[in-house]
Amino acid sequence: MAEKIFTWLDERLGLETIYGVVLDRKVPKVNWWFTLGSASLFLFIMQGTTGIFLTMYYVPDPTKAYDSVEYIMNGLAFGWLIRGMHHWGATLMVLFVFLHMLRTFYFGAYKYPRELTWLTGVILLLLTLGMGFTGYLLPWNQRAYWATTVGTAIAGSVPFVGDFILKVLRGGPDLSALTLTRFFSAHIWMLPAALVALISTHLYMIVRLGISHIPGEDE
C-alpha cells in the first residue's frame, strides 16, 4: 500500500529523480570541514522554526516587549527552551557561517566555476549579521537598547550620508517605538525573505556544479 502511494506520487513529482540529483550526487573525498555549510543550513531552519513560535507571544512594542519576553521566559511552559534555542542558535549561526566562509577561502573553493556561489555566500554572511543586529534589539532590555544606540550611531558616522542612514535605521533621530517595529519587521520578514531566496540560489549552484575537491600539493 505504502509502495503504491509512493509510486503514484513519484510518477507525478519525480521524487526519485530529485533524491538522485540532490543527495546521490558525486562528491569528492572531503573532510569534516565540508559539513559547515549543512550545519549553517540546519541552524537557519532551527532559527526559522523557533522564531516563528516566538512570534506567538512576543509583542514589538516598547511598553510590552520586555514584559512579553519575561512571560516567555518565566510564565510559559518551555518558553525558556524555545527562546534559549533561538538565542544560542543565533550565536552559533554567525559562528558557523563565518567558519564556512573560512573553509571555502582556505580550500580555494570560490574559484571557477563557483564565483557566484561565493558572492551569494558573502551576501548571506552579511544578511546573517543583519539578523543578529536586528534580533538583538527585540528583547528591549538595557543591553539591547544601548547596543542598538551604539550600533546605529556607528552607522551614523559614515561621512556625508551618515546622519541620513542613522535616521533611516532608527525611524527618526532617536530610538523609539518606530525603531523597534522596523527592526522587528526586518528581523522576521525582510531579512528572512532575502535569506531564503539567496540560500535557494546558493544550494541550486552547489547541486548544479558539485563541490570542489581538496587542493593537492601540486596545485
Binding site: 514584559d67 512571560y71 510559559l76 511552559a77 518551555f78 527552551l81
Partner: protein
Amino acid sequence: MAAKVKSSHMSRREFTKVVSAFLGGIMGVTLGIPIIGYVIGPALKSQGSDEWIPVGPLENFPLNEPTLFTFNLTQVNGWERTTNSYGAYVLRTSDTSVEIRSNRCTHLSCRVAWDDAEQVYKCPCHNARFDIEGEVLYGPPPRPLDIYETKIENGVVYLNPTPKEA
C-alpha cells in the same frame, strides 16, 4: 572489490539509515513535546479565582426580588492584566438564605436582565426567558442560569466568583 556476499550483518547504508531514523526520532520527540506544551500551555491554565467577594449585608437585599450586583475581576493573561466586569442577580429567599445567579445567558453569553413587571429574566439577543429560579421558560438556552456559590458570615453575603452550572 570483493564480490557481493549475502551477509546477515547490516550493510553500511542500512546502518546509516537506522541510526539517522533513530536520532531523528529522538530529536523530533524532544523538540515536538516542548513545542506542543509551549503552544497549548496558556489554554490549559486554570483561570479560576477562589477569593470570596463580599456582596453586602443580607438585609440590604429585598425578599424575593432579584437585584443586580456587579463586581470586577482582574486576571493576568500573559504580559497583561485584564479587568473584566461581571454581573450577578442576588435573590434573597428568606431571612437566612440567598441565591445568586449569573446574568450570562447560557445560550451565547449575552447579559440577561430582570424584568420586574413580567417577573422573568429576558435575554436581549434571542428573546430567551428565564423564571425567577433561573429555569428556562422560552427560547434557545440549553440549561438554567448558572449559580454562584455563596456563604453568609456575620450577616454579610459573599460569593465565589466561579459560577457553577445549576
